[in-house]
C-alpha cells in the first residue's frame, strides 16, 4: 500500500495507546505540500503525540504514516527526512551556535567546512551571525529559539515539525516570531507542521488547522472555516469567544432552521446536516457579530438589559442580561462606535445579529 505522493504527510487511521490509555483514536488527515499546517488543541489532546509519531519519537500502535508517498512509520527518527524544533529548543549545550546548526548537515555526510558554511548562511537567515561562536547558554530565549529553527532548517528537511516553539517567549516576541515563522515558511517552501494550544497563534499563522480534543480530530479547515463555521461545541468554545445557547429546532424550511430558546426568543439560522426538527442542540454566536439598538430591528432581535461594560483596549465587551435566557456577550469595536451604540449599564435595549452569525452545532 502506498500513499498519495502529492501530500507532504498522510496519516491513515493512526492509533496510539499507552497500556490501557488511548492517546490517539484513529486519526486520519492529509497535510499538503508547502502548507503551514497547525495541530491545535488543549494540553493532553494528542497533538504532540501525533507530531512525535511523525518525527519518529513515538511508535505507531496502529495505522500508517506517509511522507510524500513513502511509508515512514517504521523508520527510526534519524532515517526520516523531517526535522523538529523542540519546545525547550534542545540545543546542544557543549557546542557553539554554529556547530549546533551544522550538526544535522555533518550527520548527513557534509564535510565539516561545508556544513559550517551552510550553517553560517542559516544563521544569517535568522539574523544571528554575530553569535556563531557563542554557546547556547549565552543567548536569550528568543535567540535560542531562532537557533533551534536554523538548526532544524539547515539540512533542508522535507517537512519541518514545530512543537509549541513559541510557548516560552513573552507576548511581544511571540507575535514577532509568528510573523517571522510565516515568512520563513514561504521563503523556504518547506511544509511546516506546527503544534500549539494557542488558538490565536493558530489562526494567525496557519493555512489550515486541525482542531483536536481527547485524541480525536474535531475539525479540519482554513482558519476562517474553523472560526466562522465551527462544526461542534468543542470547536466553537475553544476557538475565540462565543455565546453558546441551548436551543430547540422548531422547523426547517428551505435550508433555514427556526429555533427557539428560553423565554420565547426566536432565532433563524442556516440548517446543518444531521440536526433535525425537534432536536435540542447548541447554537454559537460570536460576540463581535452582535450589535445593540433601542428598538427591535428584525425578527431575531432579543430584548434585554445591559449588565456591565468591560473595556478591553480595541473593543468594549458588553454583558447583556436576556429575559429568561443566559447572559449574552456583545463585542463592539472601539473604531466602530460611530455606527454602533454602547448603552449604559441598566438600560433596556435589543440585541441584533448580523446575517449568518448564528451557527448550529453538532453535539
Amino acid at each position: 500500500m502506498s500513499g498519495n505522493d502529492t501530500n507532504a504527510i498522510e496519516v491513515r487511521d493512526a492509533v496510539k495507546r499507552y497500556g490501557d490509555f488511548t492517546a490517539l483514536k484513529q486519526i486520519s488527515l492529509s497535510i499538503r505540500d508547502n502548507e503551514f499546517f497547525t495541530l491545535l488543541g488543549p494540553s493532553g489532546c494528542g497533538k504532540t503525540t501525533l507530531l512525535r509519531m511523525i518525527a519518529g519519537f513515538e511508535d505507531v500502535t496502529e495505522g500508517e504514516i506517509f511522507l510524500y508517498g513513502d511509508e515512514i512509520e517504521n523508520l527510526p527518527p534519524n532515517k526520516r527526512p523531517v526535522n523538529t524544533v523542540f519546545q525547550n529548543y534542545a540545543l546542544f549545550p557543549h557546542l557553539t551556535i554554529l556547530d549546533n546548526v551544522a550538526f544535522g548537515l555533518e550527520m548527513r555526510g557534509s564535510s565539516k567546512s561545508e556544513a559550517r558554511a551552510r550553517a553560517g548562511e542559516m544563521l544569517e537567515l535568522v539574523q544571528l551571525s554575530q553569535f556563531a561562536a557563542r554557546k547556547p547558554s549565552q543567548l536569550s530565549g528568543g535567540q535560542q529559539q531562532r537557533v533551534a529553527l536554523a538548526r532544524a532548517l539547515a539540512p533542508r528537511p522535507k517537512v519541518l515539525l514545530l512543537d509549541e516553539p513559541l510557548s516560552a517567549l513573552d507576548l511581544k516576541l511571540r507575535k514577532a516570531m509568528q510573523l517571522e515563522l510565516k515568512h520563513l515558511q514561504r521563503e523556504t517552501g518547506i511544509t511546516f507542521i506546527f503544534v500549539t494550544h494557542d488558538q490565536e497563534e493558530a489562526l494567525t499563522m496557519s493555512d489550515r488547522i486541525a482542531v483536536m480534543s481527547a485524541g480525536e480530530l474535531q475539525q479540519l479547515g482554513a482558519p476562517t472555516d474553523i472560526y466562522e463555521r465551527p462544526r461542534n461545541m468543542f470547536v466553537a468554545d475553544f476557538i475565540g469567544e462565543t455565546n453558546l445557547l441551548e436551543v430547540s429546532v422548531d422547523k426547517i424550511e428551505s435550508g433555514r432552521a427556526v429555533c427557539h430558546l428560553g423565554g420565547g426568543h426566536e432565532l433563524t439560522c442556516d440548517a446543518v446536516d444531521g440536526i433535525g426538527v425537534g432536536s435540542k442542540v447548541h447554537m454559537s454566536i460570536r460576540p463581535e457579530r452582535l450589535y445593540m439598538s433601542n428598538e427591535p430591528e428584525k425578527d431575531g432581535s432579543l430584548h434585554g438589559r445591559v449588565k456591565e461594560n468591560i473595556f478591553i483596549g480595541t473593543d468594549i465587551s458588553t454583558i447583556v442580561e436576556l429575559d429568561d435566557a443566559p447572559d449574552f456577550v456583545v463585542r463592539t469595536s472601539n473604531s466602530d462606535r460611530g455606527n454602533k451604540r454602547i448603552f449604559e449599564p441598566g438600560t433596556d435595549m435589543f440585541v441584533n445579529m448580523e446575517k449568518g452569525a448564528a451557527r448550529l452545532l453538532i453535539d
Binding site: A55, G56, F57, P76, P77, N78, V82, N83, T84, F86, N88, A90, L91, F92, P93, H94, T96, F103, G104, M107, R108, A133, K135, R151, A152, P155
Partner: protein, 309 residues
Amino acid sequence: MAGGAASGGSATTDTYKEARTWLLMPAWVTLSILVLAPVAMMLVYSFLTKEFRGGVIWEFSLAAYDQFFCDRGLFGDEPCTIEWTYLQIFWRSIWQAGTATLLSLAIGFPTAYFIATRPEHTRPMWVFLITIPYWVNLLIRTVSMKFLLRDQGPLNDFLINIGLIDSPIHIVNTNFAVQLGLFYSYLPFMVLPIYAAVERYNFSLSEAAADLYATKWVTLRRVLLPAVKPGVIAGCILVFVPSMGSFLAPDLLGGAKNFMIGSLIEEQFKGNAGNWPFGAAASMILMTMVLVLLLLYARQQARAEKAEG
C-alpha cells in the same frame, strides 16, 4: 554578593561580614580537623627520625625521602643512584588503579544509564540494590572474592563443568585478581555520580540528535557523553584515588608479588617492624602525585575548552 550589601552602607556590610564569618565557622572547623590537621601531621612526621619500635624521635631528618628515592648500596654508604623498588610499586599502583577505573567505567556507565532511564518511582529501589552488597564489611567481601576465584573455587568449577576450559585458570595472585577486587570494591562510587548526571540529562537532546540524523552511537559519543562528563570524571576520581592507596585487595588477592603502595604504607605503621617517617613520606608522595595528576587533567581540560570556544 558582597557588593550588593556594600551599597547599603558600612554598618550593614560589617554585620553581613560578621554573620558570614560565624556561619562559615562549622565548615572551617570541620575542614581543619579532618583535612588540614592530618595532612600537616603527616608532613611533619615524614621529616622526623624513626624510632625502632614504631613511633618517632623529634629530630629533623630527610632519611625517609632519601630511602624512597636513593639507592645507596648494601651498607648505605654509596652515592645516591635512583632507587627503583618503590617507584615500581608506585607505577604498579597507578596501572592497577587505572585498569580498575576503566573496568568500573565500562560496567558502571551502562548500569547508571539503565537506572536513570527506569520509571522515576523505581529508581530509588535500583540505587538501593546497588548499595546492598556494600553493607558487608570490605574485608569479608574481599576474602569471599578470593574464595570464588581460587583454582578449586566455584568460578573455575563452573567453567570446567560447562566445558569452556579443561584445567582451572589461575586468577588469584595475579594482577587481574587485584583489578577485579578494586573494581568490585569501588563500583558504586562510579555508578552513583554518573547516575546523578544522567538523571539530570535532558533526554530531548538525544531526540534532537536522532532527529538530526545521528545514529545511536554518535548520539552517545557526541551528545550524551559530553553532557554527563562531570559525573564520569567524578566517578573516575572516586574510584581511582582510593584504588591507588588500597591495601586489602592487593594483599588478599594479589599476593606478595603484586604489592601496591597502600600495602607498603600499611606495613610501616604495623607492629614493631614499622618505620613511621618512611610511611608518612610515602603517603605524602602518593598524595602529591594524585594531586599533580588531577591538576594536569584540569589544565588540559581548561585548554581544550579554550581551544574549542
